[in-house]
Symmetry: D3
Subunit: 286 residues, 6 copies
C-alpha cells in the first residue's frame, strides 16, 4: 500500500469539534471537574483490546488538542497499521482532567474508524493474488463519509464516488426513468465535463452489451454470481472497468475476485462494521 | 412501551441537512439531473428487506422535504414498529428526481437507526419477565448520539446520560485519581445541583459497600457475572439503582436480567449494530 | 466553596467570538485603526468601580486572545473572588490597538456575569447558617445560560436544570394537562432513564402529599410563605429535596431559609441582575 | 413616535433559533413529551404581570413558529405598546406540547426586551418637552445588541452606533494615545469615507473648543453636571450634535434635558434593565 | 444545449443567505424602513440594460423569498437565455419594502453570474462548427465556485474539476517534485479509486508522448499555439481527451478550436468576466 | 495615503476558511497527496506577472497558515504597494504539499483583490490634483464586500456605506414611493440616530434645491455630465458633500473631478475589475 496522506485538518476538525461538543453539552465534564484535582497528571495511552487495523488517529489527536493543547501525544500505530490485542496505539501524557474529558470522544472516533479499516483489511486479504481492489460505496454513516472512506484506505481499499456530484452512476431506476440504457448514457454524456467518469449498473449480459456499445468508463455488475461475473469480464474485454457488487461477504470474496473483476464494492464495510475494541489505560509503556 | 414522541425538528434538521449536503457535494446529483426528465414521477416507497424494528422515519421525512417540499410521504411504520421483510415503511409520491436524489441519505439514516432499534428490541425481548430495562451508553457514533438514543427508545430501551454534563458517573479512573470512592463521592456532592444524579462504578462488593455508605443514586456493576450481580443486588437492598454493564450480548441477557438488576447497559447496540436492510422500490402499494 | 473549574474553552469560545464579531461588524474598529499608532503599547487593567463578586474572566481572556494572541493577561481576581472598588481584576499588557478593540466586548461579558455573581453572593450570605443553597432557574438571558449558570456558581450558588432535556420538572400546566399530579408522575417515570431526576411543583400541602406518595426526587414549593414552607418541610420528612421558589428577594431569604428548605431558587439573579461596574484603566499596578 | 418597522427575520431568526436550541439541549422537552398528550390543545396567551412597554414580539413569534408552525398567534400589543398588568400581549392557540416547549424561550426574550423598552420609555417620559432624545450605547448584553437596540426604539429612544465599524467615536484613551484631540480628529478624517460621522468625547470646555475647531459631527459631554452641560451647549452653538453621558438616571434626566443637549445616552437601559414580568396563562380572552 | 437543471436549493440558499446578511448588517434596510410605507406595493421587474446571456435567476428568487415569502416572481428569461437590452428577466410583484431591500443582493448575484454566462456564450459561439467545448477552471471567485460553474453551463460551456478532490490534474510543479511525468502518473494511479480521471499538463510533444505511454484520461496542452496544438492532437490519436489552455481570448478561439482539440479552458471567464448590466424597474410589463 | 490597518483576522478568517474548504472538497488535494512526497520542500513565492497594485496579502497568509502553520511567509509587497511584472509579493518557505494545496485559493483571493486595488489606483491617479476621492458602492461581489472595500482602500480609494444599515441613501425609487424628496428626508430624520448620515440621490438641479433645503449630509448626483456637475457643486455651496455617480470610466474621471465634486463613486471597480495576474513560482529570490 502506498503511504496514506492524512486528510486536511480543515476537513477533520469541524467533525471532531462537533462530536466533542455533543459530549460536553452545556456544562462540560462535571464528573471530572468535581472529582479530579486540577493538577492530576495522566501518563498512559490508547491500547488495542482486540487484533485489528487502525484508523482515526488524526481525529483522536485533534480531540485531545481541542480539550487541552498542552496534552502531548505520540502515535505508535499510525492509520493503516495492523495491531494485536495489547498494543499501544497512542501514548498520551498530560493533565488528567483533559485526558479523561477527551477519552470517550477520541475512542468513539477511533473504535468506529478502526472497525471500518479492520473489515476492509479482511476483504483485501481475501482477494489474495487476484487483481481486484476493495472499495466502499455511498452507504456510509451520515456525516462521517470522509472519515470512513479514509478508514477504508487505511484498510487497503480504495474509494468510490464521494457523493452524487463527482461521478455518474446510472442505476436501474435511472435506466427505467430514462427509457433504457442507451438514452441514459447519451443524456449523461451531453451534460458532463471531461473529468467525470460514467459507470452503468447492469443486471444482464444483454444490458452489458448495450452499455459497452455506447462507450462508458465502468460497469457495475449487480448481484451476479461468480460464473456470470466471469462471463461479464470476458464480454467487457478491457473496454470498461468491471465492478462486482451486492452484499459480498468475506467468504465470497475469493470466488468473486477469481472471476477477474477489477473492483469489489461492499456497503457493509462502512455501515455495518463492528467497532474495534480499544481502551484508555493508565501507565502503559511504549 | 409508552408513545414515543418525536424529537424536535430543530434538533434533527441540522444533522439531516449536513448529511444531505455531504452527499450533494458542490454540484448536486449530476446523474439524475442529466438522465431523468424534470417531470418524471415517482410512486413507491421504502420497504424492509429484512425483519426488524424501525427508527429514523423523522430523519427520512426531513431529507425528502429538504430536497423537494412537494414530495408527499405517508408513514406506514412509525418509529418503534416491528416490520417483516417486504413491509412498506414510507409510501412516497412526488417528482422522481427529488426522490432519487434523497434516496441514499434517507436510507443511510433509516438503515442505521433501524439497526440500532432492532438489536435493542432483541435485548428487550431477551429480558423476558424480568424487570431490567435495556439502556445504551455514551459509546455512540460521533454526531449521531441524539438520534441513536432515540432509536434505542424506539427499540424499547431507555436512555442513559446524554453526555458528560447531565449526570455524574464516577468511573475507575476517577476513583483512582480522587484517592478512593469516598472522597470522589464527597467531592461530587459538593459541586452539583439538586437535579443531578450520581452513579458510581464498582468492581467489588467491598467497593459497593463503600459507595452505598456515602449515599448515591445508582451503581454501575462492571463486568460481574450473574452470581456476583445477584449478590450485589442483595447488598444494595433498594438503596440505589443497579446497572449491569460490560459487553453483555443477547445470549447473556436472560441470566443477567434474572439477577435482579434494574438496568442492563450495552455500548454495542449503538456502536456496532449492523444496519437494517431497507430499500427504495417503485410502485409499492400500501 | 469548592474550587470552581473553568468551563471548556470549546463551549465559551463560540459565544465570545460571536459577541466580538457583533461589535467588529464588517469593518472592524475604525476609530482605533485610524487614530492609534500600530506600535502604541498598553499597560493597565480591568478594575472594579464598585464592590462585588467576579465572574467572566475566562470570557475576557478569550476576547483578548481572539483580537491579538500577543496580548498578555494575568488574572488578579479569578471567578468567585470578592473585590472592592479599585481592585484590579485583570492586568493587561500588549498592543494598545488590540486592547482598545477588545475592551467593550470583554467588559460587557465581565460586567454582566459579575453582576450575576454579585447578587448570587448576596443571597448566599443572607442564608446564613441555614442549610439552604441558592440556585438559578431557566429564566436566563437568551444564549448566555451556560455562562450565567457558571456565574451563579462563582457567587456560591448551584445550578438547577440546564434545559428542558436534563431533568423532569412537572409544573402546574403539565399537571392540568395530564389530569392530575399522579398520572403526570407515572407517565414521567415510564419514559425516562435512570439518571434523570423528577421534580414536581406543588401549590398546596394536599398536592404535596399526592406527589410524595408517588415517589419523586424533589418538590418545588411555589409561592409559599415561610410558615407554609416550614409545614411543607415537615410533611416531606426527607423523602424529597425541597425547593422554595417565587420572586424571593434578598430581604426574604433569611426567613425562607429558616423554614428548613434545601434549595432557594431565584430567576431574577440571572435575568435582572444589574451589571457590576468595571472599567479599563491605563497604568494600573498590581 | 414614527411607526416601528420590524427587523428582518433573517437577522432575528438565528438568534432565536440558538436560544431555543440552548433550552432544548440534546433530547428536547422531556417533561412535556412524557406528560402531555400529543393532542392536548392550548388556548391562552402571554400576559403582563406588571405595567410596562412591550418589545420582543417578533422573537416570540419566531420561537413559536420554530417549535410548531401550526401554532397560531395574534399580536394584541405590538412592540412599543404600553401595557398594564393583566393585559394580553399575544393570544396563542395550538398544540399544547408546542406551546409549553416554546414558553420559556419566548418569555425570556420578551421579558428581557420589554424590560429594556420599559426603562427607555421612562427616560423618554422624563425628558418632557425638552428636545433631547434618549439613546443607548454599546454597553449591551453580548449577542443581543440588535434586539436590544430595537427594544430601545420600541421604548421611544433612538440608536447610537451599532458597533465599532459604523461611526467614529474618539474617546479619552484614543485622545491620549493620539497625542491630543486635534491629531486624533485629523487622522480620523484622513481614513474614513464620506458617510461616517465623527464624535469626540470631551471632559472640559477647553477640549470642546479644540474639537469644534477641527469640525466634527457630534461631541460626547462626559460626566458633566447640568450647569456645565448648559455652558457646553452654548459653546457649541449648533456646530455639532451634543450628547450627555455618564450614569444618568431617570431622576436626573429632567435637569440634564433642560440643559438643551440633543442626546442623552445611557448604558444601563440595556445592560441593567430589570426584566418585565410576563407570563403564559391558559384561557385568556382577548 | 440540453436542459439545464437547477442546483439544489440546499446548496444555493446558504450562499444567498450570507450575501443578504452581508448587506442587511445589524439593523437591516434603514432607509426603506424609514421612508417607504409598509403597505406600498411594487410591480415591475429585473430588466437587461445590455445584451447578454442570463444566469443566477435561482439565486435572485431565493433572495426575494428570504426577504419576504409573499413576493411573487415569474421567470421570463431562465438561465441560459440570450436577452437583448430592454428585455424583462424576472417579473416581480409584492410589498415594495421587500423588493427594495432585496434589490441589490439579487442584482449583485445576477449581474455577476450573467456576466460569466455572457462571456462563456461568446466563446462557445466562436467555436463555430468545431467540436471543442468551452470549460472553466478552478480560477473562480472565492466562495462562488458552484454558482459560477453553473453560470458557465448556462452560457453553453461545461465544467472542469470542482475542486482539488474530484480529479487528478498533474501540473508542472507536481511533475518537478515527483521527478518526472512517469513517476507522477504511476503514483497517482496507485492511490485513487476507479471513478477518478487523470489529466496531465504537458508543455512539449516529448512530454506528451511520455504521458500517453503511461495511459491517462486527458492532457492539458499548456500555452501551445494552434500549430503545435494540431500536432499534439495528431499525436494523441484519440488516446486521451485534449484540452487547450493558457489565456485564450475570444479572438483566438476559432484558430484554437480548428486545431481539433476537445476542450478549450479559460480561467478569465470566471475571474475576470465583467458584470452584465441589469437593473430593477418599476412598472415593466411582460 | 495614511497607513492601511489590516482587517481583524476574526473577520477575514471565516471567508478564507470557506474558500479553502470549497477547493478541498471532501477528500482534499488528491493529486498532491498522491504525487508529492511528504518531505518535499518548497522555496519560492507569489510573483506579479503584470504591473498593478496589491491587495489580499492578509487572506493569502491565512490560507497558508490554515493549510499548514509551519509554512513561513514574508510579505515583500504589502497591501497598497504598486508592483511591476516580475516583483515578488510573498516569499514562501515550507512543505511543498502544503504550498501546492494552498496555491489556488491564495491566488484566487490575491488576484481578485489586487484587481480591485489596481483599477481603483488608476482612477485615483486620474483625479490628479483635484480634491475628489474615489469610492466604491454596494455593487460588490456577494460575500466579499469587506475584502473588496479593503482592496479599494489599498488602491487609494475610500469606502461608501458598508450595507443597508449604516447610512441612509434615499434613491429615486424611495423618493417615488415616499411621494417626494421632502417627505422622504423628513421620515428618515424622524427614524434614525445621531450617528447616521443622510444622502439623497438627485437627477436635476430642482431636486437638488429641494434636498438641500431640508438639510442633508450628502447628495448623489446621478448620471450628470461634467457641466451639470459643476453647476450642482456651485448650487451646493458646501452645504453637503457632493458625489458624482453613474458608470464613470477612467477616461471620464479627469473631467468629472474637475467639476469640483467631493466624491466619485464607481460600482465597476468592485464588480467588474479584471483579476491581476499573479502566479506561484519556485525558487524566487527576494
Amino acid at each position: 500500500m502506498p503511504e496514506l496522506a492524512p486528510l486536511p485538518d480543515l476537513i477533520v476538525e469541524p467533525i471532531v469539534r462537533a462530536a466533542l461538543a455533543e459530549d460536553l453539552g452545556r456544562a462540560g465534564d462535571i464528573t471530572t471537574s468535581a472529582v479530579v484535582a486540577a493538577d492530576a497528571y495522566f501518563s498512559g495511552g490508547i491500547v488495542a483490546r482486540r487484533d485489528g487495523t487502525i484508523a482515526g488517529t488524526q481525529a483522536a489527536l485533534i480531540v485531545l488538542n481541542l480539550v487541552d493543547p498542552t496534552v502531548s501525544v505520540s502515535v505508535q500505530a499510525p492509520d493503516g497499521t495492523s495491531v494485536s490485542a495489547g498494543d499501544t496505539i497512542l501514548h498520551i501524557e498530560g493533565p488528567a482532567r483533559a485526558v479523561l474529558t477527551a477519552e470517550r470522544t477520541a475512542l468513539n472516533m477511533m473504535c468506529h474508524l478502526s472497525g471500518v479499516a479492520t473489515v476492509t483489511a479482511e476483504l483485501v486479504a481475501a482477494v489474495g493474488n487476484n487483481k481486484a481492489r476493495i472499495t466502499c460505496t455511498r452507504k456510509t454513516t451520515p456525516n462521517l463519509r470522509t472519515l470512513e472512506k479514509h478508514a477504508v484506505r487505511a484498510g487497503g481499499g480504495v474509494s468510490h464516488r464521494f457523493g452524487l456530484d463527482d461521478g455518474i452512476l446510472i442505476k436501474d431506476n435511472h435506466v427505467a426513468l430514462a427509457g433504457g440504457i442507451r438514452p441514459a448514457i447519451q443524456r449523461a454524456k451531453a451534460n458532463i465535463g471531461h473529468m467525470v467518469k460514467i459507470e452503468v449498473e447492469v443486471d444482464t449480459l444483454h444490458q452489458l452489451d448495450e452499455a459497452l456499445s455506447e462507450g462508458i468508463d465502468a460497469v457495475l455488475l449487480d448481484n451476479m454470481d461468480p460464473d456470470m461475473l466471469r462471463r461479464a469480464v470476458q464480454t467487457i474485454e478491457g473496454r470498461a472497468i468491471s465492478e462486482a457488487s451486492g452484499r459480498i461477504t468475506a467468504d465470497q470474496v475469493p470466488a468473486v475476485a477469481a472471476s477477474g473483476v477489477d473492483i469489489i464494492s461492499a456497503g457493509w464495510i462502512t455501515h455495518s462494521a463492528p467497532a474495534l475494541d480499544l481502551g484508555l489505560d493508565f501507565g502503559v509503556t511504549i
